[in-house]
């Protein structure tokens, strides 16, 4: 489904934050906000929930640690126990460094992979960026609730908060 969304362009951070808050409080649906850098406070203004990627990271770390420990125990105790200087086959403290490294490796790679999947970032993506939002402009995209004419009210609201330009755009939902 594709629906027209109203884009309001802003020139600075303070205005876009205020406008975002106002648009949301007026009851419009925020499609998204586009900024050239991570604007702190924007998550609050948009009412975004904290990301759940932290749990992915924790789980992947746990998995990495378990796999590393299992691999070391299997190779050193079960598959081919070797007596190295009379040390016990299950020389647990010696297995900590590799387990730690693999914990970090799994956690980092999985978190980034999950992020790319969730944010739908991939090579060859054809998603167009709005003009200048990766340079020096900020944009708020407002989706209509039911009646597209409501967008007029949203446009006035954004203008009153300092929007320098507005546009109506079809975007894939």
């Amino acid at each position: 489904m594709s629906a027209p969304v109203l884009i309001g362009y802003f020139d600075n951070e303070t205005q876009v934050l205020d406008a975002t808050r106002a648009v949301r409080e007026a009851g419009f649906t925020l499609h998204d906000v586009y900024t050239p850098y991570a604007v702190h406070g924007m998550d609050d203004a948009m009412g975004l929930k904290p990301s759940r990627l932290t749990w992915v990271c924790f789980g992947a770390g746990l998995l990495g640690c378990t796999l590393a420990m299992s691999l070391q125990l299997y190779t050193s105790v079960v598959s081919w126990p070797l007596n190295v200087g009379g040390k016990p086959f299950n020389s647990f403290p010696a297995f900590i460094p590799v387990s730690f490294e693999l914990t970090v490796l799994f956690a980092a790679l999985t978190t980034v992979a999950a992020f790319l999947v969730r944010a739908r970032l991939f090579p060859g993506s054809r998603r167009p960026a709005l003009p200048r939002v990766t340079d020096d402009r900020f944009a708020i995209a407002v989706a209509p609730r039911e009646d597209p004419s409501e967008l007029n009210a949203a446009e006035d609201l954004m203008r009153s908060h300092g929007a320098v330009a507005t546009a109506l755009l079809e975007v894939a939902s």
């Binding site: 900024t35 604007v39 990627l53 598959s79 590799v98 980034v112």
Partner: protein, 492 residues
């Protein structure tokens, strides 16, 4: 609730007023204009050094590592010294990108990209040495635990050398991923600036369809924080494990529990010296003095004072413990280090690492890029000698006096080491040409730091004051209370 920290006590991170658009323009400019002849000269030298190094490596792989100056007593020398030297240099990049991020040190934003690139290149140089040392580098995959037709005969998980394999490869992978994630928004900026053509096509693929959506930014920030949190213990673990290569052996001079913190401090110390060496050249050549400011250099020299102090303390502790332990072999190893045949190397190390950082206590030296540059080179030399001293002097006087020996590197070893500098600088010079060397997105987010919102935006109703540097930029500390009392434009 924004990035604008308004207090007269804070000084702007970007010392000249710039609009967002100007910043994009400035940072992207070097990649969008043809290289200057100076770049070509530097690149030509770097590539020829790299080529020579590659030829020398080819010769030693074809002949065997008997072409090195090693002998039965000194089984590790130049090769491992260089390995530890390069790994150590890499540590500053991760420290700047991860640890300073966790401590919310916003001044890191203009140097983290280049410092992380330096980390990657340094780790590549480091990884070459064990690879060459294997003698048959095409069998390098034997260090990985994989089911094989020899039994399966597994690798020895109790060996610190194997821990090193995991530590260095994880470190390289995570650093590369961290670096790339940080690059994505900037790649999109470059993509959107590029006219149609190959540049546009390449950056389109590399930027993965980044649109600047705040829903994505929000997740991105979470991921960045997580990666910083993971990279922090990782970087500490890497040099810890490198130090265990030595500390878990029973050689006097190596067998000490102080090694992990001692090596990590030394790594950060040498890494910051290398970051300074590179940044002082880069900021002048590319005209980034207002982004990589004197304050950045000063902050880094302060870290050098601290880590230099830690290293000095470690030298002293080692010596004290060697005496206090009552172990005659330990005592001999340390007396031999300071007064034996390699005393010259030991005293070079002490002069460069213990004495020279204290020059940074003087504000004049700390704020003179030329002086910092010279000292950063001195520290790099000193840290190379530290590894040489630890490795060679501990080995050359064996338990049996009949096997005492001396070590001199051959031309092949020296050539390989110089060759890695060729590799390092070739990669760095390519990096400054093809990627934005300053994180555009992050610098934009600190543009408003210690600035009034209107000052940071010269395009909004242009007041003449917008063109003036922020008064706080050059104000001495003593004037601060007065400024608080008199300035009315800055909400405190």
């Amino acid at each position: 609730m924004s990035n604008q920290h308004l207090s007269p006590l804070r000084e702007p991170l970007v010392t000249e007023p710039r609009s967002l658009g100007q910043l994009t323009e400035e940072i992207c400019a070097p990649m969008e204009r043809p290289p200057t002849w100076k770049w070509w000269v530097a690149f030509g030298i770097a590539v020829s050094v790299l080529g020579t190094g590659a030829g020398i490596v080819g010769y030693q792989v074809a002949t065997g590592i008997g072409v090195w100056g090693l002998n039965k007593t000194i089984g590790w020398a130049f090769d491992i010294t260089n390995f530890v030297f390069w790994v150590g240099i890499g540590h500053a990049g991760t420290l700047i990108s991860a640890i300073l991020f966790l401590f919310r040190q916003k001044w890191r934003t203009s140097i983290n990209r280049a410092a992380e690139a330096m980390t990657l290149f340094a780790v590549m140089c480091a990884a070459l040495f064990p690879l060459i040392h294997m003698g048959r580098p095409w069998l390098a995959f034997w260090v990985m635990p994989y089911p094989n037709s020899r039994g399966s005969l597994w690798v020895n998980f109790r060996s610190p050398l194997l821990w090193d394999v995991f530590a260095i490869s994880t470190y390289f992978t995570v650093s590369a991923v961290f670096w790339y994630v940080g690059l994505i928004p900037d790649l999109a900026t470059v993509r959107d600036r590029a006219k149609a053509g190959i540049r546009k096509a390449v950056f389109k693929v590399m930027s993965l369809g980044w649109t600047g959506s705040n829903r994505t930014w929000s997740r991105y920030e979470t991921v960045y924080l997580l990666l910083a949190g993971l990279a922090t213990p990782l970087v500490l673990s890497v040099h810890t494990i490198v130090s265990m290569d030595f500390a878990t052996s029973v050689i006097p001079g190596w067998h000490t529990t102080i090694f992990p913190p001692y090596f990590v401090a030394g790594a950060v110390f040498s890494g910051f010296a290398m970051v300074l060496t590179l940044m002082i050249i880069t900021r002048v050549v590319l005209g980034y003095e207002h982004l990589i400011t004197l304050r950045h250099l000063e902050n880094m020299t302060k870290i050098i004072i601290v880590t230099g102090g830690l290293v000095s303390l470690a030298y002293a502790t080692e010596f004290f413990i060697a005496w206090y332990s009552g172990n005659p072999y330990e005592r001999f190893a340390f007396m031999n280090r300071a007064f034996g045949p390699y005393a010259w190397a030991y005293w070079i190390m002490v002069t460069c690492n213990v004495v020279s950082p204290h020059l940074f206590w003087f504000k004049k030296i700390r704020t003179s890029p030329a002086a910092i540059f010279v000292l950063s080179l001195v520290i790099n030399v000193g840290m190379w000698f530290e590894r040489f001293v630890i490795i060679v002097t501990s080995l050359h006087r064996d338990f049996l006096p009949s096997s005492w020996a001396m070590y001199t590197p051959t031309m092949v070893e020296v050539g390989t080491f110089i060759g890695t500098f060729g590799l390092f600088f070739t990669l760095f010079l390519l990096f400054v040409r093809v990627l934005p060397i300053i994180s555009i997105g992050e610098v934009k987010s600190v543009l408003g730091f210690a600035r009034d919102g209107h000052e940071a935006q010269p395009q909004t109703p242009a007041t003449p004051a917008a063109e003036e540097p922020h008064p706080a930029a050059h104000r001495p500390v003593a004037a601060v209370p007065l400024a608080i009392a008199t300035r009315k434009d800055v909400p405190v």
